[in-house]
Each structure stands twice: as structure tokens, then as C-alpha cells.
């Protein structure tokens, strides 16, 4: 069969996918203020970015939120996956169903339902409400990643540990956790990225006391072009590339 047609097609689509990203990075080094024309090489927008106190503050808030949301969702997600894999209990289908619904629901549906809950119980919108929301939408992704790892794993090992007198907790700690470690790291990185990228849910459940990066960017780009956003975008791109390569590396290494 002719090879050039599919190859040309693939190349073309990849170029289209990457053009905006490349434009963003190139323009982040643009001296010009208008943002459209090239005015020479400059780092002024990076400088402007780091001199913007509110922006730097939002970056730290976002990183801290992503860090904590990824950690909490990895712990709960891993325990959920272990429970789904090992135990038989009533309502297992309902549990699975709820995780599936969270993953499939449009983000905005999740967002308003959480907003309604937080207002009903009188929770002040801020770090805590953001954390609860982010953990909730990261959870199913961690569960799936860990379950995939567990399903490819020989069940006789935990059984042997049990026969040798280990308690459930000891067995989990000494046998299962090491086995699912790569999945935990991959799940953590996925959660971190999902949290850092989220706009829709955060728009609803954040308050003025805790401003995070996506909302800061959102308020900046709605009105017009802000060259600082190019610089920020380029930094975020490099950051997520590193994270993604890290997670791929962990997954590939664990398969050997």
C-alpha cells in the first residue's frame, strides 16, 4: 500500500497541533508590546511576570494546591483501587459507578454540584474547598492507573504473605505498595497536572482568599492580549513536558 499518504497526513496534523504552542513560545521572547509583530529578542515579559506580586503569589498557591491535591488523591485513590481489587463488599457496583460518573461528567456539572454542597454546609470558599474539589476529580484517574497495575499482578504473592501470618495492613505495606509504586507515581503526576490545569471547577469553588493561577490567567486573557501570559505559558509548557516525561519514564522503566 502507498505509504506517503498516511505519513503526510499524520505530519500535517501534528504540525497544526504544534503551531499554536510554538507561536506561544516564540512570542514569549518578543520585545514588542503589541503582541502581534516581531520586535526583537527580549526577556522583558519574563521579568514582568516575576515582578508581578499577585501573579507570583498565584503561582505558589497553585503549586501548593496541586501538590496537596495530587498527594491526597493518590492516597485515597490507591486505597480505593486496593479495595476494589481485593475485597468483596456490598455496593461495589455503585462505587465503581460513582467513579465512572465523576470521570465522564462534564466538568461544569461537577463544579456546580460541589458549589451547591459547599454553600449548603457553610464551607468558606478557599483552599479547603479547592482541595476537596480537586481531589474528587483526580480520584478516578488514580484509581484506574493503580487498578491497571494490580490487574497485571500475580495474586499468589499477597496470599503467601497472608499464609505466613502477615496482617492485611502489613501485607499491603510490604507487598502491594512496592508493586503499585510506579502506578502511584504516575497517578500522582497525572493528578498534579490535572489540578494545575483546571479552570472550570476552580472558577466555581475558589474564593478571593486563595487566588490560583488558571483564574489569574483567565482574568488576564479575557480582555485582550497580555504578553506576560506568553512567558507564563512557555514556562508552564516546559514544566508539564518535564512532568510528562518523568511519568512516561517511570511507567516504561517499571515494565522492564
Amino acid at each position: 500500500m502507498t505509504q506517503w499518504l498516511p505519513r503526510t497526513y499524520l505530519t500535517l496534523i501534528y504540525i497544526l497541533l504544534y503551531v499554536p504552542v510554538v507561536v506561544l513560545v516564540v512570542f514569549s521572547f518578543n520585545e514588542s508590546r503589541t503582541g502581534y509583530a516581531w520586535g526583537g529578542l527580549s526577556l522583558r515579559w519574563y521579568e514582568a511576570l516575576f515582578n508581578n506580586r499577585a501573579m507570583v503569589n498565584a503561582i505558589w498557591n497553585s503549586l501548593w494546591l496541586a501538590l496537596s491535591a495530587a498527594t491526597v488523591s493518590t492516597v485515597i485513590g490507591a486505597l480505593t483501587a486496593l479495595a476494589l481489587h481485593r475485597y468483596r463488599f456490598r455496593g461495589k457496583k455503585l462505587l465503581n459507578g460513582m467513579l465512572f460518573v465523576v470521570m465522564m461528567s462534564p466538568e461544569i456539572v461537577l463544579a456546580i454540584s460541589l458549589l451547591a454542597l459547599f454553600l449548603l454546609v457553610g464551607l468558606q470558599l478557599g483552599y479547603v474547598s479547592l482541595l476537596l474539589a480537586h481531589v474528587t476529580f483526580c480520584l478516578p484517574f488514580v484509581v484506574i492507573t493503580v487498578l491497571a497495575r494490580l490487574s497485571g499482578f500475580d495474586d499468589s504473592l499477597p496470599e503467601a504473605a497472608r499464609d505466613l501470618g502477615a496482617s492485611d495492613f502489613t501485607m499491603t505495606r510490604t507487598v502491594l505498595i512496592p508493586v503499585i509504586m510506579p502506578a502511584l507515581l504516575a497517578g500522582w503526576l497525572l493528578g498534579f497536572t490535572l489540578s494545575l490545569d483546571d479552570v472550570v471547577v476552580s472558577t466555581f469553588v475558589s474564593g478571593p482568599s486563595y487566588e490560583i493561577l488558571p483564574l489569574r490567567i483567565y482574568s488576564m486573557v479575557r480582555v485582550g492580549l497580555k504578553p506576560e501570559v506568553n512567558a507564563l505559558g512557555a514556562l508552564l509548557l516546559v514544566f508539564s513536558l518535564v512532568m510528562l516525561m518523568l511519568s512516561q519514564w517511570i511507567l516504561i522503566r517499571s515494565k522492564r
Binding site: P6, V21, F27, Y36, A116, I217, R222, G233
Partner: protein, 285 residues
């Protein structure tokens, strides 16, 4: 069965997991259903009596128009993603193994990058004095800059750009499973290329198509920041309506009813997806 006392670990895990999901998934969703049948209240957001007014308001011509326009844009987005993604996934599944992994990696890199920032990058390209217009004018294809930004087309381009990987990945996985022998068998039984495509390839890849449609169509109605950045005030999504009702207009029952429409659409799509998978299962058995 051993009792609770003998399995403290199991009990603790189950309580934690159930607690989280019941409190943060089930309860909030029930609250939204509840809110949709209550009455709007300017002070406490919601009040009695119960009624279906919010659902009636969905058919208000003003909103109906917004919903239909949103559905149209989401439909176009899904169609474009499918038209680009189907041959793309097909071609991808024919590439050598090692190269395939690299190509998949390249496909998900943008997906891991902040979607707001990527939408903003499109603005740089589509603006009146942006890169695309400058390029077209410099090669002499157009004399005057085209109005690309703040149009329906810009919103669809933005949605396609953000959602394309979600169409490609499920399609890629069904093309991966499509065995070469089946295609050869079809050929040996005398089917032409078109006939093989219509009667063998399309039905076998249908679950992937439906999974992709599901993953694209729903977000394409909810991602409110895309029209905010690229579409102007005339090209709103259902997501924009829900957001406005909750955060600005403070009409919770109406916002909740609109969100339930999205959820019901999701349920129907999941049902269709299950059905198509079952059919293949039966025929394959």
C-alpha cells in the same frame, strides 16, 4: 467471613472511600437535582415551593436559541474531530511499534499543557492583525484582514484544538484491536475496499467512534472559557449559561436544570456506547 474487629484495615479503607464518594459525589449531585425543582430566591438562592418552572424556562425562545446554537457548535466540533481523527487513528495504528509510542507521546503533550494558555495562543493566530491574517496578506491571498476572532468558527477551532486527542485515543485503541486477518478474510470473500470499509471496518470501530463522540461532545458544550476568549458574546455554550446562572444571575434552579440536561445527554451517550459494544461482543462470539 471475619468480623469487622478482625479486619480493621478493610473497614477503615471502605469507610474512607465510601465517605468521600457519598459526601462529594452522590450528595452534591442529588443537591443539583433538588435545586432544579425549587424556586429561585434572591437571598438564600433557593426556596420552596417545588415546581418544574426551571425546566419550562429551558424552552424560553431566548435560551432555546442559545442551547441549539451550542449544540450545533458542539456537533460541528465533534464532526470535525471525527473527520480528522478517524483517518489519523487509522494511519497511526499502521506505523511501526516504536514510532507509534513516540507519536502517541507527542499527541498527549499538548493535552498536558494548560488549556487556557493554548486557547490564548490561538487568539494570537486568529486575531485581526494576528499571524494568520498577516501571512495570508503577505502572500497576497487577501487584501483586507478577515474577521476570524469572535466568530462561531473561532469557537469551533478552539474546541477542536482542545478536544482532538480525546477523539483520537479511543479510535486508536479500536484500530489497534482491528486484526489484519479480518480485513484479509473480507478481501478473500470477494469484498471490495468500499464494501470492507462499510461492512467490516465501520461496525468494528463503532465503539471507538461512540467513545470519542462522548468524550468530545459533552466538554464541547461545557468549556465556557473557549467562547469567552475566542467567541465574543454571541457564541455561547451551555456551559456559559450554567456559569452565568450560578455566578452572576443567581438563578440556581435554572442553572441546575441546564446542567441536568447535560447529564441526561451523557447518560444517553453512555447507553449507546454500551449497546454498540454488546453487539460486537455477540457477533464475535
Amino acid at each position: 467471613m471475619r468480623s469487622v474487629m478482625q479486619q480493621p484495615f478493610k473497614t477503615a479503607v471502605l469507610i474512607l472511600v465510601w465517605g468521600w464518594l457519598l459526601f462529594l459525589v452522590l450528595a452534591p449531585n442529588l443537591l443539583v437535582v433538588g435545586a432544579s425543582v425549587m424556586t429561585r430566591d434572591p437571598v438564600s438562592f433557593l426556596s420552596l415551593p417545588l415546581n418544574l418552572d426551571a425546566y419550562g424556562q429551558l424552552f424560553d425562545p431566548l435560551y432555546l436559541e442559545v442551547f441549539l446554537h451550542s449544540l450545533y457548535m458542539a456537533g460541528m466540533t465533534t464532526l470535525v474531530c471525527l473527520l480528522i481523527g478517524y483517518p489519523f487513528a487509522w494511519a497511526l495504528s499502521r506505523v511501526g511499534r516504536q514510532r507509534q509510542l513516540i507519536l502517541i507521546f507527542l499527541l498527549i503533550v499538548p493535552f498536558w499543557t494548560n488549556s487556557l494558555v493554548r486557547t490564548y495562543a490561538l487568539k494570537l493566530i486568529l486575531a485581526t492583525n494576528g499571524l494568520l491574517n498577516s501571512a495570508l496578506m503577505s502572500v497576497g491571498l487577501i487584501d483586507e484582514p478577515l474577521q476570524l476572532l469572535y466568530t462561531e468558527g473561532a469557537v469551533i477551532i478552539g474546541l477542536v484544538y482542545l478536544l482532538l486527542p480525546f477523539m483520537i485515543l479511543p479510535l486508536y485503541s479500536v484500530f489497534e484491536d482491528l486484526k489484519q486477518e479480518i480485513l484479509l478474510a473480507s478481501h478473500d470473500l470477494g469484498a471490495g475496499r468500499l464494501s470492507t470499509f462499510v461492512h467490516v471496518i465501520v461496525p468494528l470501530t463503532l465503539p471507538g467512534v461512540l467513545a470519542g463522540v462522548m468524550l468530545v461532545l459533552l466538554p464541547a458544550m461545557g468549556l465556557f472559557f473557549v467562547p469567552d476568549i475566542l467567541g465574543g458574546s454571541r457564541n455561547l455554550l451551555v456551559g456559559n449559561v450554567i456559569k452565568n446562572q450560578f455566578l452572576d444571575a443567581r438563578n440556581w434552579p435554572f442553572g441546575a436544570a441546564a446542567s441536568i440536561v447535560l447529564t441526561v445527554t451523557m447518560a444517553l451517550l453512555i447507553f449507546a456506547h454500551r449497546l454498540s459494544k454488546q453487539r460486537i461482543g455477540e457477533e464475535g462470539a
